[in-house]
Point group: C3
């Protein structure tokens, strides 16, 4: 577990945000509480607060993702930070510069924070272990390892609808094997003390070690959804699959796609979540995605608030106490 | 005509800016009047006013155009807005996300305005019909349909030189068939009540329906330019042409390229306009493009002022009354 | 020499910054003095001063360079300017627009400064000769001609460590032939009056005319480094080499790569510099690059300060007198 302590400074405060694994409940709740302050900012006509004014945040995207990059860029700009977008494929590495030399250079330019996206698991930890003490690192997704801000925006969305985590049954459905999102969700959900976490999917998409995480495994969607409060559908990572792990998208949809009929097995007030972008007709039907149980677009809005909260917490510039949620 | 009402809200105010077609004269004049406020901003040492501070404007460019994107980005930044540049080719659509899901996501991120460029006619209308009520849409060029901010900057440039539209003869020369600019200009000119609009070009580049728009058609440049006050040269859209609509660029220049000799047929104080970028020696000679009748670079400056005006009008944050033009 | 006067206005003030060649000592010292003001900005929590607020700076990169573009973008943003990044390959020139027409358009959009990077020597001078009088131009590297901000950040770094230029022996090692950095350094060093400038490299990488610049030529690294105060290693421009000018990287490293053994020939307190990005094991060993004599990362930090200084000097908005270095 020592490798995860790198996220916490000597005073127990969050220094980097790399994974939800190994973080104390109190820290996760603090992020959720702090994010409440920022939900209203998006609805104001002037969507900007000066918490990180004059700070420089570099988006280091070794793997392209307009969507995720956009949410971090918006969060940073609404905190009044300056943002550098660095697409590493078209960057200095084409001149053969090593990753560490690139980090040293960005530090010397007085960057304050790196938001890192990388196709290799462990990349954000590697970078956090090698940056100067004043630099903060946020993992924006590394391989199939972790995507902690996505997991926290999901927790935030659940809490806004369901209040007490201890009462909840949560089902995560789909391609657990390739999903950094699922890993980060499972760690956050168990830390926050939900009653039960279920993972549902075909054997080929459920990693063997998942049982060690304290979740219940289902291969049948009907059985798995019975009586759950929250359904988290995962994106079928078609571009990440190697070999024929699923027979066909059509057959996948028949077995694991969420339709109104299958949704009926869950609790009547169950909410349906998805990290996006959704594959309509593959893992979820349009009726469900656009239906009354869906909170998918709320997740997107909450994503900005959570990223603003994490950025301001790790920079030590928190929202003013008088405006804080009690 | 119902399809164009989408631009106007229930109080008759401009909500989107998609086309000059079907807009009342008063609305076009209001845009021109309002733009007068912004012409001075470009000449100030601090070229920034806080009218759209804290607003988020997303440039959705489905068709690449550095030039047009730059003018909108500058206009937005000088209004103090935050700008997101989203090049859709390298974006979430590569993961198979639908256009509508992308719009929903950008709305959920609390964007306020979409500036849309698309190779297909009707794309901006489609988007405007499907956005949430608080979102504003500006058409930055869709297929061969419309390019309304270009048309309005042209009207603005004409008015600064010629004052009364009712007295003017205006000639539009060149590839009318492929030109969204020409369509938007014709609608604006007729709505503003110019005395006569002429279109001049070879038969292969004049669409048949153009006669319905109330313009006079000329195939001979000399005859068409006789006694006109304003000459608008169009860019030869070589990249948009399918098949051999013109014999050769050289022959095209001989027949329809604007030279000092041909310019002499117009009124002595005629102004020469071009939306840019110009093809020197194809549709216009350098002597004319750089000569005393040319107002081509004024058009570029006016383009920033018009875009600032349109953005602030549709956002409902107009320039202060005490500073307004009377 | 007349071609370089374009940098200086009628009052002897710096108007563009294109090359260190032909500039008076006083001007170079003024840049160094002014940069002292900006070194502290990078260490502040709010790294922003409003000197260029409301100014528009366009980065015109005809040759891709994320690294250099980033340093100029950061310098501009920390001066509160608005920045346009224009990558010319994917820009209007694809529509056949000429360079001059593009400049005219950017001027008409009320840009204030162009930062130019180009693969052809003389490109920045060409642009400076053709811009409107109110536009300022900074050369961010043109072909193998000049890279003056790099040279000045090197002078700044030397002065911070060594104080008096008149006492110094400086060695520049490596590929002088292809190096715009070396040319700009030699002009700056001789103008600032260093005791001796040496260039060290194989005959194939030393241009014949270099002797006219008042430098001493060495082909042997041991001899060349004897008793020097400053060692400037150049990057082996592998991507710029045509033909086999060096036998192999391995042999190059053996003859001209800087190792602790070779460094021992220099003065005990010699500093080691490199413009980056470094090729470890080609022109420099990791022991030296990361060792106590290396000031390579200080150069990066100083690069932001120097670029802020040059930008504010040529825009005529200098740091407040009361805060200036004495």
């Amino acid at each position: 577990m020592k490798q995860y302590n790198i996220q916490i400074d000597e005073n127990g405060k969050l220094r980097h945000f790399l994974t939800t694994e190994g973080l104390k409940r109190q820290l996760l709740v603090d992020i959720l509480d702090h994010a409440e302050n920022f939900t209203s900012v998006g609805n104001r006509s002037v969507k900007k607060i000066p918490l990180l004014r004059g700070n420089t945040i570099a988006n280091l995207f070794f793997e392209p993702s307009t969507r995720t990059r956009t949410t971090f860029e918006l969060a940073a700009k609404r905190l009044s930070a300056d943002v550098l977008n660095i697409n590493i494929n078209t960057s200095a590495t084409t001149k053969g510069e090593s990753l560490l030399d690139m980090l040293r250079n960005l530090e010397a330019m007085h960057c304050d924070m790196f938001v890192v996206r990388h196709s290799q698991s462990g990349a954000a930890h590697f970078i956090a272990r090698h940056v100067a003490p004043h630099i903060r690192v946020i993992n924006a997704g590394d391989g199939s390892h972790a995507h902690p801000t996505q997991a926290m925006l999901d927790m935030f969305t659940i809490r806004r609808h369901k209040k007490e985590f201890a009462d909840l049954r949560v089902a995560i459905v789909g391609d657990i094997l390739h999903s950094r999102v699922a890993r980060s969700q499972i760690h956050a959900l168990t830390t926050l003390g939900v009653h039960e976490v279920r993972v549902i999917g075909p054997e080929t998409l459920l990693p063997r070690e998942v049982q060690n995480l304290g979740v219940h495994i289902y291969h049948d969607l009907h059985a798995g959804l019975a009586n759950v409060d929250v359904i988290i559908m995962l994106r079928l990572q078609r571009e990440r699959m190697t070999g024929a792990l699923i027979p066909s998208e059509r057959e996948y949809f028949e077995l694991y796609g969420l339709t109104p009929e299958k949704l009926a097995f869950a609790k009547p007030d169950a909410i349906v979540m998805h990290p996006g972008p959704i594959n309509r007709g593959v893992e979820i039907s349009s009726e469900v995605a656009d239906g009354p149980h869906s909170v998918i677009l709320e997740q997107v809005s909450n994503g900005i608030a959570i990223r603003m909260a994490v950025m301001s917490i790790i920079m030590g510039n928190r929202f003013g106490n008088d405006e804080e949620r009690e």
